[in-house]
C-alpha cells in the first residue's frame, strides 16, 4: 500500500509528538524507521495504523484516510513492541482472533511459523516470556499478510536465534508476497541490511528519507594526520571528528566522487565506510539541539526537503 503523509502533526495535550512531517512511501518495499526514544516513531506508526487521530495535516493510505475507516484498517497491521496479542487465552486463541480480524490470514503459514519459533499452541499467552510474546506478535504480523504491515520494535526479549528466524521469515515471505513493510528498531546493525529505504526521525521531524544503500554510500570516514584531515574535509558536511594524538578521524556525509577520493589517497588519508548505526547516532545528535542540516533529506528519496508549513497539496 502506498502511504502519503503531508504536514502531519500529533499533539498530546501541549506536547507536540509529531511536528510537521511530510513523506510518501511506495508500495512493495521494506522501510526502516529509525529514531531515538521519544522521537515519535510509535506515534507515527499508530497514526498510520488508524489507532490514533492526527491533530493536523493528512495521512492517506492508498489515497484514503485511515482513522475510523474500516475499508483501510483491515489491510493494515501494526505489531506493537509487546506483541500484537490479547493478554488472555492461549496461543491458539490469539491466532483465532487474528484470523477473524485479518482478511489475508494464512493459517497454514501461521502454523509453520509457530513451529519455527517453538511456540506451543496450548501455551497461555499471559505466562509466556517477553520473547515468546514478541515471537507470537511476529507470527500474527507475518501470517496476516496485510498489504501494510508494521513492526514496532517487535523483537523485544527475543533471543538472537529467534531474531534471525524473524529476519529470514520476513524476507522470504516478503519476496513471495510483496507488501509494504515498516520496521521500527533500535537494533540498527542487525536490521539495516533488510531495508530498501530508511527514514530517520528526530523530535517529531523527518531528518532523512533515502535509499539505505545511498545513505551508506554517502557516509565516509576520513582518517589521517589531523591537519590533512581538516584540510580535506573543509567545505564538506562533517558529522563528527575524533582525535587520537596527532591522528584525526572525521565522519563525512555527502557524495565523494572519484577525483576527491583520489585526492584523499594522495594526501595519505584513509577512507572507509560508516555503519548505518554510526550515521544514525550523529544525524540525531546532539540531544537538545536542532538536527544538523543533511544534504539529501527530503520527503522522497533524493528530493529536497519538504516545506515545514502546509503546502495545501493533499495528494
Amino acid at each position: 500500500m502506498k502511504i502519503d503523509v503531508n504536514d502531519l502533526r500529533v499533539d498530546y495535550g501541549d506536547v507536540r509528538a509529531i511536528d510537521g512531517m511530510t513523506f510518501s512511501l511506495d508500495a512493495g518495499k521494506i522501510y526502516g524507521l529509525l529514531g531515538r526514544n521519544g522521537s515519535g516513531k510509535t506515534t507515527l506508526l499508530s497514526v498510520l495504523a488508524g489507532f490514533r487521530r492526527e491533530s493536523g495535516g493528512t495521512v492517506r493510505v492508498d489515497g484514503r484516510p485511515v482513522f475510523e475507516n474500516g475499508a483501510v484498517t483491515g489491510d493494515v497491521c501494526l505489531v506493537r513492541d509487546a506483541g500484537e496479542t490479547i493478554g488472555i487465552g492461549t496461543v491458539e486463541d490469539a491466532l483465532y482472533f487474528a484470523e477473524w480480524l485479518r482478511p489475508h490470514w494464512d493459517a497454514a503459514y501461521a502454523d509453520a511459523l509457530l513451529d519455527r519459533f517453538g511456540l506451543r499452541r496450548k501455551a497461555n499467552v499471559k505466562t509466556m516470556s517477553k520473547g515468546q510474546r514478541s515471537a507470537l506478535g511476529v507470527v500474527v504480523g507475518l501470517a496476516g499478510r496485510s498489504p501494510l504491515t508494521m513492526f514496532d520494535e517487535s523483537y523485544l526479549g527475543m533471543d538472537a536465534p529467534s531474531r534471525y528466524s524473524f529476519y529470514d521469515a520476513l524476507l522470504a515471505d516478503f519476496m513471495e508476497h510483496p507488501r509494504t513493510v515498516i520496521l521500527s528498531t533500535h537494533l540498527i546493525e542487525e536490521y539495516s541490511s533488510l531495508f530498501e529505504e530508511v527514514l530517520i526521525i528526530d523530535r517529531g521531524r523527518l531528518v532523512l528519507h533515502e535509499e539505505s544503500q545511498t545513505v551508506l554510500a554517502r557516509g565516509t570516514s576520513v582518517t589521517g594526520p589531523a591537519e590533512r584531515v581538516e584540510a580535506f574535509t573543509g567545505g564538506l558536511t562533517v558529522l563528527d571528528t575524533r582525535r587520537l594524538g596527532p591522528t584525526a578521524s572525521a565522519m563525512v556525509y555527502g557524495d565523494l566522487d572519484d577525483a576527491r577520493r583520489g585526492q584523499a589517497r594522495e594526501a595519505g588519508l584513509e577512507l572507509g565506510p560508516i555503519a548505518m548505526q554510526d550515521l544514525f547516532v550523529h544525524l540525531t545528535e546532539p540531544a537538545g539541539d536542532a538536527a544538523p542540516a543533511v544534504p539529501g533529506r527530503g520527503a522522497r528519496p533524493g528530493e529536497p526537503a519538504a516545506p515545514a508549513e502546509p503546502s495545501g497539496d493533499a495528494r
Binding site: L171, M175, L194, E196, L216, A217, P273
Partner: protein, 120 residues
C-alpha cells in the same frame, strides 16, 4: 557475513566476479536468483538486485527475460584483462611499499619470485 568496508551489493558483485575468474561460474551458466542471494545474505532483495544490475551494466552478466541471469561468454577473458591492467597498481605497488616499510630488500622479493617460477 560482510565486512562493512563497502556496500553489500558491491561485495556481492565482487564475489560473483571472483567466481567467474576462478572458473566456478562458466560462460552462459545461470547464476542464482536475486531472491536466493537476498535470502542467503539476509539482505533486501532490491540490494541484491543492485549487484546484478551493476554486473549487467559491466557486461559480466546478461538477462534472459523470465528465466534469469547468465554469465556472459566474454566475461572471463574481459575480467582477466581488467585485473591484469590494475594488477601492478593494486597488488605489486602496495607489496613494494610494505616491503620498504618493514625493511625487506626488493632483491629478496625478486629472488623469491624467480624460485617460485623455477618450481613451476
Amino acid at each position: 557475513m560482510f565486512d562493512d568496508r563497502s556496500p553489500i551489493y558491491r561485495q556481492i558483485a565482487d564475489r560473483i566476479k571472483a567466481d567467474v575468474l576462478s572458473g566456478a561460474l562458466k560462460g552462459d551458466e545461470q547464476v542464482m536468483s536475486t531472491n536466493q542471494y537476498a535470502a542467503f545474505y539476509r539482505i533486501n532483495p532490491a540490494t541484491a538486485a543492485k549487484a546484478f544490475q551493476q554486473l549487467v551494466d559491466e557486461g559480466v552478466l546478461y538477462k534472459k527475460r523470465g528465466i534469469g541471469m547468465f554469465v556472459s561468454p566474454a566475461a572471463p577473458d574481459a575480467l582477466r584483462a581488467q585485473r591484469r591492467e590494475s594488477f601492478f597498481a593494486d597488488v605489486v605497488d602496495p607489496m613494494v611499499a610494505e616491503a620498504r616499510a618493514i625493511g625487506v630488500p626488493l632483491g629478496d622479493i625478486v629472488r623469491r619470485i624467480t624460485e617460485t617460477e623455477e618450481r613451476g
